[in-house]
């Protein structure tokens, strides 16, 4: 709980760490000031790229006591305006799943190695980042995962590509941590049917999860910079659930 009498500060900066394959990647790193110990969260950005909203979300988590590493998953495509970088990656059909999982694991290790770390690290993201977070939590060890309307967890065989060779749902038996999923009832990627299919798979393997489906919300209901997508009530409730979940499992 916030305390008006308490010291409050944070550090927010771009740093570089070795990511997947030893490639140096840019990471937006935010942490509360102070000795900690603090839990960590890896934030995997959405399809529009390593943008202002992603950095705002990272700072929100830091305000609530988490150290956050948000890697630029597109940095191998070059540097410049986020729109130009995202357009290039989009034209190439996205980034390879293996590479994203490797970058996420590198960020986890970076956070865990910090002297302020409490040793626990979660992973999250919205949109394609929600899918990537789930994938990372299945293929690597994390302590908590939040999938925010990640499309493409359930994939048709014809949608599998060289970069995305396995549908994340097929890794469900390997999920390494508790999962929170927030979804919009009017979303089509993931659709409510796909969310139900995912849920069945989680039940099948006895995984710990909480899914919440918001009525009247579509894709991207946290995005206050997207008036058509933003749903204030769902966003307020959703953020509460994200923070509560991470505090419970990482605190």
């Amino acid at each position: 709980m916030a305390d008006t009498g308490a010291y409050d500060g944070m550090l927010a900066e771009v740093t570089k760490i070795p990511g997947h394959g030893g490639h140096w990647i840019s990471v937006y790193f935010v942490r509360p000031l102070g000795p900690g110990p603090f839990p960590g969260v890896v934030w995997l950005h959405h399809m529009p790229g390593w943008d202002e909203w992603t950095k705002e979300a990272a700072r929100k988590l830091a305000y609530h006591g988490f150290m956050v590493a948000a890697p630029d998953l597109y940095c191998r495509a070059g540097t410049g305006a986020p729109e130009d970088v995202a357009a290039k990656v989009r034209a190439e059909g996205g980034v390879p799943d293996d590479q994203v999982v490797g970058d996420a694991a590198a960020c986890r290790d970076f956070l865990r190695a910090l002297p302020q770390s409490n040793g626990k690290v979660g992973v999250t993201g919205t949109c394609s980042g929600g899918r990537h977070a789930y994938l990372a939590a299945c293929r690597e060890r994390f302590d908590a995962c939040v999938d925010l309307w990640g499309g493409g967890v359930v994939m048709r065989p014809e949608d599998l590509t060289e970069k995305r060779p396995v549908a994340p749902i097929d890794y469900t038996k390997d999920l390494s941590c508790p999962l929170l999923g927030l979804f919009g009832e009017e979303d089509r990627a993931p659709s409510p049917e796909q969310v139900r299919e995912h849920e069945e798979e989680l039940k099948k393997y006895g995984k710990t999860y909480e899914f919440h489906m918001y009525a009247g919300a579509g894709h991207g209901f946290f995005y206050h910079d997207r008036p058509a997508a933003y749903r204030a009530e769902a966003a307020v409730d959703g953020w509460r659930k994200v923070l509560d979940f991470f505090h419970r499992h990482l605190g």
Binding site: E83, A87, A91, G152, G220
Partner: protein, 92 residues
């Protein structure tokens, strides 16, 4: 890449971008999350020079209806251009 709708068109032309003229060698056409337009999905068209770096890009984001109107205008212009070039065009 969230919809898997991605189509490339080989082009030969030129575009005027942020740093002046550049060769346009390809159009990347998608139906995906737009980067600016306040819609969940849009038809996006990026005119790019594949050898020209990230800034050699002119991007537009269109509603589906607008994209269809643009496509029809392009096809109509091409039909008139071909008729003009072959001498089959009627004087306006």
């Amino acid at each position: 890449m969230c919809t898997n709708i991605l189509i490339h068109a080989r082009l030969e032309g030129a575009g005027f971008g942020r740093k002046g003229w550049f060769p346009v060698t390809r159009a990347n056409v998608t139906y995906d999350h737009p980067l600016h337009l306040d819609l969940e999905h849009a038809v996006t068209v990026d005119f790019v020079d594949e050898a020209g770096g990230l800034e050699a890009r002119i991007g537009v984001e269109l509603t589906v209806a607008s994209a269809r109107e643009l496509a029809e205008a392009l096809l109509a212009a091409c039909a008139e251009a071909e008729a003009y070039e072959t001498g089959a065009a009627q004087p306006r």
